[in-house]
């Protein structure tokens, strides 16, 4: 009997270990933003902000606050040394042109064909897709960051998305608070599980076909 407790930090911490030194990354709003807090000190990634710069830094304090520097969520931020600003066409040229190594995005539903729905719930929430469709389509690797279960206790990983898609077949990696999955040949492939979850328990509690990778192992958070 496994007792599940939602844990977003596991997700952020695991994703933060995916990047290599020198990677260019775009982190979506919400949970993906947390990832930035856990990147190892010897791994220097460059964060893109799709409203027009590379080299996103931390939140400002009183001394370095600039109202004209905000992240893609409109929240004040800073830039790091080596940053540069550009217009929205260059910004999405970077995105759509395949120049970003990773984009990390949130999830409403993600399915085993690599389809992601994360931008609207018809009749309920129609905010617009912002940059999400371009990010999914353009980034070299798409990582989905999500707690495993929705508020009704059902897995957000599904056989086939029922919500309007943000992009079709673009998802490469999914990290939940139970484990890390790849999307391959129409299945979720479990690569790692996070204790106390076990592969079997994950398979039982996910609405989708999961293949357990022969090299599947426990990832230990240290």
């Amino acid at each position: 009997m496994i007792e599940y407790k939602e844990d977003k930090t596991k997700i952020a911490r695991r994703i933060a270990r995916i990047f290599k030194d020198g990677d260019y990354v775009n982190l979506g709003i919400g949970l993906p933003t947390l990832v930035g807090n856990y990147v190892p000190e010897d791994v220097h990634i460059v964060l893109q902000s799709e409203n027009g710069f590379l080299g996103l830094g931390e939140a400002p304090d009183e001394d370095n606050f600039n109202p004209d520097i905000v992240n893609a969520g409109g929240v004040p931020c800073t830039i790091i040394e080596g940053a540069c600003f550009f217009d929205s066409a260059v910004s999405f040229g970077i995105i759509r042109g395949g120049h970003l190594d990773y984009t990390v995005l949130g999830v409403l539903e993600v399915d085993q064909e690599g389809n992601l729905a994360n931008y609207m719930i018809p009749g309920k929430m129609v905010p617009g897709m912002g940059g999400a469709m371009d990010l999914l389509t353009g980034a070299k690797k798409v990582i989905c960051a999500t707690v495993h279960f929705d508020k009704h206790g059902k897995s957000k990983m599904v056989h086939s998305c029922s919500l309007p898609l943000t992009a079709k077949g673009e998802v490469d990696i999914i990290v939940t608070d139970l484990g890390m999955f790849e999307v391959r040949n129409g299945s979720f492939v479990l690569k790692e599980y996070f204790a106390p979850a076990t592969p079997e328990w994950i398979v039982e509690n996910t609405r989708g076909d999961i293949v357990i990778d022969p090299d599947c192992r426990e990832f230990v958070f240290i």
Partner: protein, 226 residues
């Protein structure tokens, strides 16, 4: 080099007519030409189409509305073309009640459609939106085995943007992430009005670091207090 007219925000807005299509720079209020938008709000102009990255922030408190949100609250637009309207409850309300039409466009596609309009292209092929609701009603063109949507250009009757510095020939620089859509919208406007934080003499901007060439600019307004 001939100087561009320097006029007031009210003089600039007086040129706009009911029903015109406007492009307005800014991303969540950062880079919005607030003096021009204030004058637009006071003008009573209506039935316009607004092309803007988003609709600013309005979550219920009018005094906290940012970016173009005060103009949305004044119901000056019959149509919005934007990539994100989720932080403006009034736009959502107008959309659901049918008072205004909303065309949601992926942000990169929006940027490129504006650039296409400004650079004389008839459109472009993008992979963004293939297999999604964005594809509806659009021509799908296959190039080397890959599907793309044909997206069409956008132009405006008036483009209203904020710049950091404008020299009197209309050459512009921007401030940090306030740049966003402004250089693109400057290309796509039949008439382009710039609200500049600072207006400087011709010859004081470095020719290497001008972002928007003066050829795109028609009028300059000094930024006031918003």
């Amino acid at each position: 080099m001939k100087e561009k007219p320097i006029i007031t925000a009210e003089e600039a807005i007086a040129r706009i007519k009911d029903g015109d299509t406007l492009m307005v720079s800014g991303f969540m209020g950062v880079g919005t030409p607030l003096g021009l938008m204030k004058a637009l709000g006071e003008s009573g102009r209506k039935d316009m189409t607004l092309i803007c990255s988003d609709n600013g922030l309005f979550l219920g408190d009018e005094s906290a509305a940012t970016g173009v949100a005060p103009n949305v609250l004044k119901k000056q637009f019959k149509k919005y073309i934007a990539s994100h309207i989720g932080l403006n409850k009034e736009t959502q309300r107008q959309m659901l009640s049918g008072e205004a039409e909303v065309e949601l466009v992926p942000q990169g596609t929006l940027a490129e459609r504006i650039r296409s309009g400004g650079t004389g292209l008839g459109g472009f092929l993008t992979p963004t939106g293939v297999g999604t609701a964005v594809q509806e009603g659009k021509q799908v063109i296959t190039v080397e085995g890959k599907d793309y949507l044909l997206e069409l250009p956008l132009k405006s009757d008036y483009t209203l943007i904020r710049a950091a510095k404008a020299d009197k020939a209309g050459n512009l620089t921007y401030s940090a992430s306030a740049r966003n859509f402004a250089p693109l919208m400057a290309m796509a406007g039949e008439t382009v009005i710039v609200e500049a934080d600072e207006i400087v003499e011709i010859g004081t901007l470095d020719p290497e670091t001008v972002v928007t060439p003066g050829i795109f600019v028609h009028y300059i307004v000094q930024r006031g207090e918003a």
